[in-house]
């Protein structure tokens, strides 16, 4: 009891070691990738990089609800779409700047997710999956058929250039940096949420929600929060999509897109944030590499997903190894101590 009152503090050398991998990743995102892309000098590659980053964020946001909390979500693309339409319509019809549309997209998407979650959250397992599928399709139908508001199948063109504090960011490299900053910041937030005691409680819902209930965990409320948080980040991803592509239409947010995002999380390893990121990069970049073969992107998604379920049931980067990796490399909030004590989140 006495040594618990003074829990051992993290040893300083480990904090330094903790920073190595994050710094390396930051160097890759903010220096290596832009340098390589600049040397190629083709706008198309910048667009691919943006799409990859956006899908990294989408996969990471689905990771919160499906990977960590274990709720199979088959309508995630719809929330991505809500975010994209919120940002797109605000920018194209109200002339709102980028700095307004991004938070607006997150808030509107979270609010809609909250409303649809109210009746559906007490559903369990397959019923929940089906309800999310239905909700996703309903939102898609609204985007497609509410022509006076969403312009229906014609989609929305977003002309307003990217601009932050009067600085024009519409050049490919500036846009890339903007997307990279927002996606990285969001990933850090998702990382903090899923690797904390809060994240542990979400995991307990996935493992055995009845048992978590007996521990005093407010299961229904936590599920709802996970769903809303996940939707908010999907909304941010949608806003980024709307601003970087300059054109959105309902078909960008249909069921196949939900499945694509789900496949990323499954292929990477359910429950593993690095897995979700790797899965997203793999499923976006692999089809680009295979572009010469033909339009094989979607069939690749199916094949990769099937093989990974069959051969790697825990995904490319399973949760258990991911968690220990994260605690070793990214754990500025995770303290440890040589004599086995003082483990825990801060």
């Amino acid at each position: 009891m006495s040594d618990l009152a003074n829990p051992p503090t993290a040893a300083p050398p480990s904090t330094l070691r903790n920073l190595v991998l994050p710094i390396l990743i930051a160097i890759v995102i903010f220096a290596v990738v832009p340098a390589v892309l600049t040397s190629f000098g083709r706008g198309y590659f910048w667009q691919i990089a943006n799409i990859a980053l956006i899908f990294v964020l989408l996969a990471a946001s689905l990771h919160v609800v499906t990977g960590v909390a274990g709720l199979l979500h088959l309508g995630h693309a719809a929330f991505y779409g809500v975010g994209a339409y919120t940002a797109g319509l605000l920018a194209s019809e109200q002339g709102m700047p980028f700095l307004v549309t991004i938070p607006a997209a997150a808030i509107v998407t979270a609010a809609i997710a909250f409303l649809v979650a109210l009746p559906t959250m007490r559903l369990v397992s397959i019923y929940f999956a089906v309800a999310t599928l239905a909700i996703g399709q309903m939102i898609y139908l609204v985007l497609l058929n509410w022509v006076s508001f969403t312009h229906g199948p014609n989609g929305v063109l977003i002309f307003s250039g990217l601009e932050v504090f009067g600085i024009d960011l519409s050049s490919p490299i500036a846009t890339y940096f903007l997307v990279a900053v927002i996606v990285s910041a969001s990933i850090v937030l998702i990382h903090r949420i899923s690797h904390s005691y809060y994240g542990n409680a979400l995991r307990s819902l996935r493992e055995d929600d009845q048992c978590a209930d007996a521990m005093g965990v407010r299961t229904a409320r936590l599920k709802m929060e996970a769903f809303v948080i996940s939707a908010a980040f999907a909304g941010i991803a949608g806003a980024l999509w709307a601003h970087t592509t300059g054109y959105i239409s309902p078909s960008d947010f249909d069921f196949a897109e939900s499945i694509l995002i789900l496949a990323m999380v499954v292929v990477g390893g359910l429950g593993s944030l690095p897995g979700a990121v790797i899965g997203a990069l793999l499923l976006i970049l692999l089809p680009e590499v295979l572009r010469d073969v033909g339009d094989v992107r979607n069939i690749m998604v199916g094949i990769v997903m099937f093989l990974s379920i069959l051969l790697l049931p825990k995904g490319l980067f399973g949760e258990v190894s991911a968690l220990s990796m994260i605690r070793r490399q990214f754990g500025d909030a995770w303290r440890r101590d040589e004599n086995g004590k003082g483990i825990g989140w801060r």
Binding site: R203, V217, E225, V320, A333
Partner: protein, 251 residues
């Protein structure tokens, strides 16, 4: 103090079957009570009525003056009732530490916003509670192991540690000795006694009489859903109704 847990005319029917039939009993603060009965006597059902997993058909359950009828299990848990499960329900894909942290989280939750902060006071408290529970159950040295990799006996202690991390006022253990050998049962008995000595009120739901007789100061006996005895171990041992329930109608 006088009204810790009271159960009044608790009844639960499943279709035509009356699993718990008009049971009235109480547990006082600081007691170590055993709930025994032959298989199918309604022990686990009564237990689930207290912890909110099964709704009452009629009757009342009060805990420290609060009526528990119709409350969700997580609310009852937050009032201070911790429980373990008969058939070992640890979170297999989480470490021992993380398993126990869910118990601490349950009664001392951290919000998503708080999770974003570094060095939050809440997280600090949860860590402390987890360590206390791990040390109490001597699981600290396996804190970073996956729960699925623990031995059967260790998992029993993990369940208890998880409940202890909730810092409950009242702990209900559902058949903790099931599947343990004699020496492990003895060790468990000592552990339960030491928890009781720390001032925790405990209810032990058991099928097997041995453990209960050795640790409990009071024993409630159920048979076919009805309470047939409620007294100290020696009286219960001599009670002809109890003997008949165990020997006469044993399946």
């Amino acid at each position: 103090m006088s009204d810790f847990l009271t159960i009044q005319n608790a009844t639960r029917r499943f279709g035509g079957l009356v699993a718990v039939d008009d049971v009235t009993t109480r547990v006082d603060h600081g007691q170590l009570v055993g709930l025994i009965g032959p298989n199918g006597a309604g022990k686990t059902t009564l237990f689930n009525l207290i912890s909110g997993f099964t709704p009452l058909s009629s009757g009342d359950v009060h805990f420290k003056g609060t009526r528990l009828n119709g409350m969700k299990p997580n609310r009852i848990a937050r009032l201070g009732i911790g429980r373990t499960f008969q058939n070992l329900r640890v979170f297999p894909n989480m470490t021992v530490f993380d398993n126990v942290s869910v118990g601490a989280f349950g009664t001392h939750p951290q919000s998503a916003l708080d999770a974003l902060r570094s060095g939050s006071k809440r997280a600090e408290t949860i860590s402390e509670r987890v360590w206390q529970a791990l040390e109490r159950t001597e699981l600290a040295y396996v804190a970073t192991d996956l729960a699925a990799n623990l031995s059967y006996g260790k998992r029993k202690y993990l369940e208890i540690a998880r409940a202890l991390a909730m810092q409950p006022d009242f702990l209900i253990l559902d058949e903790p000795a099931a599947g343990l050998n004699d020496s492990e049962t003895l060790e468990l008995a000592n552990f339960i006694r030491s928890l009781h000595a720390d001032g925790l009120t405990i209810m032990l739901v058991e099928h097997d009489m041995g453990l209960v007789m050795s640790v409990c100061e009071r024993i409630v006996v159920l048979a076919s859903g009805k309470k047939i005895a409620d007294a100290d171990p020696d009286t219960v041992r001599a009670d002809p109704a109890v003997l008949e329930a165990y020997l006469g109608t044993d399946e």
